[in-house]
Structures are given as structure tokens and as C-alpha cells.
Symmetry: C2
Subunit: 432 residues, 2 copies
């Protein structure tokens, strides 16, 4: 690596950051990629880790391995604690990087809309640790139910509430239903498959609002067939160890999972750039930060509109942004102007369960088995690393044909069983 | 399950407890298996999880799945907190079991020989959480070394000390050497493969003392070829955040792994039975506890001599004991006397690394590739569950041919880098 080449610092090795680095492979620059973890995570399959279908190693690959052969890249396991756009420096935990070009791609965090106290009782799903924690809670609830003799508490232990009817919530609810009905039910002596109650709560009028209405409807039908109860117009007002509150109504449940909000990482607040309410950075059309020609921000941490609508927080947007930033850096080095970003929407899909999914590819709307096959192929195709791809196909085929899940491990030092106390004077929602 | 059948309670679903349950498949009894975790762990491959060669799910299977089809078994995820042999009861965390026959098979814990304060700086390897923690520490040490500019601290970060020259210590030392030299070295920019120092410390005169002397010698030679420095007669007097102390000498190291001692679980102290110094229960030749005809103890928690020598704490002993207990329970139900346990030693093996191992099969002593193949076949053959077996073979073949490790993930909520402070007035051992 030549020391006198322009230095590109990329913060975050998710879909956006990694794509930027790879698209700069032959550019006359030296690149430093900084990430808080040592692995790139294939987030679309994270819910499968939470539901014991896949192992963490199946959907994550070391960043160093992915970029091993790209000689103009250095990878640092570190955290960007601050950015000084005027001085062109990034503060790491105990060092500093000087950059010529900066690419911020730090993604999003789970947002509880100002109710951070809900996090303890209703974990979100953003990284591998979240996934393992959710897996732990779901499996422990079944274990506790197996021993429980009080029928009311038994029912609470087998009630699972997923908050948020976006793609993550739909995937999680569908996956819990499958796990309960087809996989776990056969292994327990005192639990009847019908006893598990899975509720999906959505505040708006329909689930998957980013899709066409007919597909929302189809998704709801497919969820219902799997045994998930979908409730729309259900605005959660509180969550505690008893369960979920919708105004005066309480849904008593031992396990609550939060699939609702995403806010940008804390770093965005330190940029001095304009933000929206969820902390996303308002960027220019060429993906630069307002007022800084050599600082870009991409992916889930940003807010950008196209044709009057905000771009969705999905991996294709982040990856296309990454390639656009790489082109712009090369343009700049060649003395050419920046190009504006234009998102090419190749369609979107959401999976619901075994042979159940929806896909919206322009005017083509698919449901059920066809959509599920399309989802499977696209997601396996984009998995990074042959080994992961093979392992995922194998694990999927295995659980498809045997209804067994290989990764059904409860790990973590302490063995905590979920505690559900009895409700106190609240009117109770029957989860029959 | 008929409620009036004799109730067999088995505490622990390791090799001993699981074998007992399976051997009672057709016996006229009802069985309850209690374990603190939800999975049976294939402990001989645990070091591979610690060294990122395998995923936790590859070497563990849910106990419920393994025993799913055995209708006379109930599985409980719970912990035996106390046993009352006279009243024939077992206390669980918040309930009680009454038994007709009791089988204790709770295994062993890492023992620091009275220095429990060493655990924090030198983790042992007994369960999946240990393995993930050791993986974390080893990988983080390399990550920190990549950024370190001070040469002395760089060397400390790349110094790995394994304490204990038994099979676990030998496996770990060999696996760290492979990881450092063949796998990680290619991914880092500032680390030279030769810079990593792996030391194996053994207090006695030779490593693997349970094997024949010529095999110990061969194992030491194979370790040296892999780049491990073996020091025998090295009695550890202290371990702290600076490193390992041998009397006045200090070996400065960021990562220390404890592979030395095993003591029985705390439950043995509550039995009122005679124990040896490491807390192992002294059992009768028919595997019963002294004075109790219907209470058995087997495996790593026990001490039993055969032909004047103590039986080793290995899985074949535990499994043969399990089958003997099952036969004795069936004998008792048929009004026949108990038989005495006799261990049939089919040989023992220890693996060192890629194509490196030793095997002692009676008078046949194998070393190197042949021993390694034998080790691999035997261990894969005994893995429970086809899926695991397949996944392990695949992962092994993958890393054998590509020198890549799929499971190289650092997980855990906080990103802690290892801290090595400079030594203070101690004479320093050069780890060159």
C-alpha cells in the first residue's frame, strides 16, 4: 500500500460500507475500514438465527476474510467515537485517523420511540447477540411451560407477542409459529402445539405497509394459516414484565419481541448535519454531507427522498449507494463532477415461513410458494462466501425435510427462566 | 408413560447420563432426565469451537431431540440443588422429584487448585460459553496486535500460554498454533505469522502423562513442529493480567488458557458420601453410593480404581458406566444381584493439529497422520445426530483444504480488548 495515495476511511462494514470498499478495489486510494465487530452480518437472515434455524457463523463472515485479497484495504476492529469534518479526522477509541475521503455507513439501531426502558423486556433484532438472546428467551419460555402446572401461567409462558408489522416483525412472528407448531411441539410432553399463541401487533391499518395492499392482505392470510394472530390498529402504550399494554387492555405474555423502529446510530448526532426525528442524516443527492465535499453518508443512517418518497432502509439501497460513492470518489480523483444517486428498485420481498412469502417486482405480485422460492434464491445468492451459502442451503434443506432445527441451543452463562407475575387490576386480554 | 412404574431420576445429560437413559429404553421404568442446559455437548470437540473451527451447534444437540422418540423419558431443564438419599428426593430450583432409582452424572468443573481468582484471567474449557469466551479472547488479541505499535506490547498480545499438558491443553496449544500460522496470518497486514508465541506449560516431567512415554515424546515433537514451545517441569505459582508466573520468572502474555484441573461439581459435597481431594465421590464397584442400594454415581464426578489405578475421566468410562447402571437397575427389578463394573479400555487418543495426533491402542502406538485419521473417524462416528456429523465433516474438510475457518466470530455485548500492562520489577521471561 502506497502511503502517499489519498486515504479513504469507511466507518461500518455492513452492506453499504463493504460495497464501497469493494467498488474501490482498483482505485488509486488506500482504504481503512473500521467496524465495531469483526464480522459482516447478512442481516436479512438474522431472524433465522433468532429462531434456531441457522447458526451465527452461517450468516456472518469475518470482514478480514472478505477483504483479504484486496491489497489496498486495512481493516480495524474499533469504534468511531467522533468525527471532525473540518479537520478531516475520525476519533477511534484510543487513536485518530486522518482522511481525504470519509464514508459513513454505520447503519441503524433498534428504536423504542423514546421508551428505552422497554428494551429490557422486549429485545430488538439488530445483531448476532440480539438474535442469540431472542432464541434464548423463546426456547426458555417453552422449557418453563413444560414444567408449569398453573394453567394461567402456562398460557402466559406460551404467549409470544411481536410488536411491529414490518418485514422483521412478520418474519419473526411466522418463524415463532413454525418453531412452536412443527419443531418444538414434538419434543415436549406437556405442551400442545395449539397452546402456543403468537400475536403480531401493528399500529397502522395494515402490515407490511411498504408493499402493495393486495400483498399485505396475502401476507396476513398466510400468517393466519401458520397460526399467527394479526392485530392491526394496535398501538402499544407500555411493555413490562407482565406483557404488552394497548391502552387499558393487557396482553399477558412472557416473551415480547420488538420489531418496530429503527433509528440511526448515535454518531449522526455528532456530525452537526441536519437530522430527521429518528436521527437519520439528511444528505445531498450526491450522497455528501451538506457543506462537505469529501464526506459521504450512506445506508440506514441517512434520509434521502426520491420522487417525493423516502428511500427504504434496505440493503439494495445501501449497496447501490456504496457503488455510487465509489464512482464519485473516482470521479473526484479524475477531476470530474459528482453524479447524483438514483435508486433502481428491483423489487422487494418479505418472507413469512415455510413456503410462505410475498414479492413485489414492479407490477408482478407473487405470493406463497413462488414468492418463497424467489426469496430463498435471491437471499442465498447474495450471501457472501461460498461456505456460508452452502451451509445455509444445507441447514434449510435439513429443516425443511425433517422439521428439525440444528441450532436449538440455549447459551449464556446464567439460566434465567422468564418470570410472569400475575396482573394487578388491569383488564385482561384473553389470548385464547 | 405409566405413573405406577418405578421412577428413575438421572441428573446430567452428558455421556454418562444420556447413555443410562438410552440403555433403559425398553425397561419397565419411567425416567426423568434433568440437565442445567438444553443440550448434550460433544466435549471432545469443544476445543474446535474455542479455536473457531466449528460452531456451537455443530457439537451440541438438544437433549429433547435426542430422546424424543423414547417415550419413557421426560426431560427437564433445571438444576439439582440438593439430594436427600434417605428420603429419596432431589431438590430442583423450585420443585422436588421423588425417585426409586437415582443416577448422578453431573460431571466436572474446571479446578484452579484453590486459586479461583485465576479464573478471570485464565478461563478453562468445560462448556460452550467457555469455548466462545476463549475464541473471543484469542481473536481479540490478534485484533489488538494489528493496531499496536509498541513492539513489547505487540509481543505480549501475540503470546498465548496454555497451562496443563493433558489432552485439553495439547489440543488447545496445537489449535492456537494452527490458527495463528495458517489461518489468521494471511488476513492481517501488520502481524507476521512467526510473531505469535504459543507456550504449553506442564508441571510434571512430560506432557500427556496418561499415555506411554514414547507417545508423549512424539506428541512433543509434533507440537514443536507446529510452532508450540513445550515446557515441562513448569509449575505455575500465579496468574494475573500481566501473564503467568513460574516462581520468580514471569511470562508476559495477554492470553492465558487453563487446561489443567478438573474437580467434581458442587453437588458431590452434599451427598454425605466419602470424597477424594478433588471432590470426586468414592463409589462402590457396582457404581452405587456407599450405603445406598438405589443411588448410583458415574462418570467424571466419581473416583473408582481398577487393577490398582484410578479410571480416567474420559467419555468411554462414563458411557460404559451408564450401561452398567442400566443393567443393574434392570437386574434389581428382576430380583437379581448387581454386577460389578469393569472398564474395557479400547485405547486412547489425543489430537495435536492438522495431521498430527497420537493413539495408544493396547500395544499399538500410532503417531502423526495415521493417528489423526483414527482420531477423526472415531470422533465423527460418535457424534450424536447425522446433521452434526455431516456439518462437522464439511467444516473440517473446508478448513483442511482452504485453511479458512468459518466460525471466526467475535460475539458478546461489549467489545473488550485485552489489556496488558507493563511488568513491574519482575524478572522477565523472554518469549522469543
Amino acid at each position: 500500500m502506497k502511503k502517499d495515495l489519498p486515504h479513504v476511511v469507511i466507518i461500518g462494514a455492513g452492506f453499504g460500507g463493504l460495497t464501497t470498499a469493494q467498488a474501490l478495489k482498483r482505485a488509486p486510494v488506500q482504504i481503512t475500514v473500521v467496524d465495531r465487530t469483526n464480522h459482516h452480518l447478512f442481516q436479512p437472515l438474522l431472524y433465522q438465527v433468532a429462531m434456531a434455524g441457522l447458526s451465527p457463523a452461517d450468516i456472518a463472515a469475518p470482514i478480514r476474510s472478505i477483504l483479504r485479497k484486496q491489497k489496498n484495504v486495512t481493516v480495524l476492529l474499533d469504534e468511531a467515537t467522533d468525527v471532525n469534518l473540518d479537520e478531516q479526522t475520525v476519533n477511534l477509541r484510543d487513536s485518530e485517523l486522518k482522511y481525504d475521503y470519509l464514508v459513513l455507513a454505520t447503519g441503524g439501531h433498534t428504536s423504542y420511540f423514546g421508551h428505552d426502558e422497554w428494551e429490557k423486556v422486549a429485545p430488538g433484532l439488530k445483531d448476532l447477540d440480539d438474535a442469540v438472546e431472542i432464541r434464548r428467551r423463546v426456547l426458555l419460555a417453552f422449557e418453563a411451560a413444560e414444567k408449569e402446572t398453573d394453567p394461567e401461567r402456562h398460557r402466559e409462558l406460551l404467549t409470544f407477542v411481536v410488536v411491529g408489522g414490518g418485514p422483521t416483525g412478520v418474519e419473526l412472528a411466522g418463524a415463532i409459529a413454525e418453531l412452536a407448531r412443527f419443531v418444538l411441539a414434538r419434543d415436549f410432553r406437556n405442551i400442545h402445539p395449539e397452546a402456543a399463541e403468537i400475536l403480531l401487533l401493528e399500529a397502522g391499518p395494515r402490515i407490511l405497509p411498504s408493499f402493495a395492499p393486495d400483498l399485505s392482505e396475502s401476507a396476513e392470510r398466510q400468517l393466519t394459516e401458520l397460526g399467527v394472530k394479526v392485530r392491526t390498529g394496535a398501538l402499544v402504550t407500555n411493555i413490562d414484565e407482565h406483557g404488552v399494554y394497548l391502552g387499558d387492555e393487557i396482553i399477558k405474555a412472557a416473551t415480547v419481541i420488538w420489531g418496530a423502529g429503527v433509528r440511526a446510530t448515535a454518531l449522526t448526532a455528532r456530525l452537526g448535519a441536519p437530522l430527521n426525528r429518528a436521527g437519520h442524516v439528511l444528505i445531498n443527492r450526491d450522497l455528501t454531507l451538506p457543506g462537505y465535499h469529501n464526506a459521504f453518508a450512506i445506508g440506514d443512517m441517512t434520509y434521502l427522498e426520491q420522487d417525493g418518497k423516502p428511500l427504504p432502509g434496505v440493503s439494495p439501497v445501501a449497496m447501490q449507494m456504496g457503488r455510487c460513492v465509489a464512482r464519485n470518489i473516482k470521479n473526484d480523483l479524475a477531476g470530474k463532477p459528482y453524479e447524483e444517486f438514483r435508486y433502481l428498485d428491483k423489487g422487494s420481498m418479505a418472507t413469512i415461513g415455510r413456503k410462505a412469502a410475498i414479492a413485489e417486482l414492479g407490477k408482478l405480485h407473487l405470493s406463497g410458494f413462488m414468492a418463497w422460492m424467489a426469496w430463498l434464491l435471491v437471499h442465498i445468492f447474495f450471501l457472501i462466501g461460498f461456505r456460508n451459502r452452502f451451509a445455509v442451503i444445507f441447514n434449510w434443506a435439513w429443516s425443511y425435510f425433517t422439521y428439525q432445527r440444528g441450532a436449538r441451543l440455549i447459551t449464556g452463562r446464567r439460566l434465567r427462566l422468564p418470570v410472569v407475575e400475575s396482573s394487578q387490576g388491569k383488564s385482561e386480554f384473553s389470548v385464547k
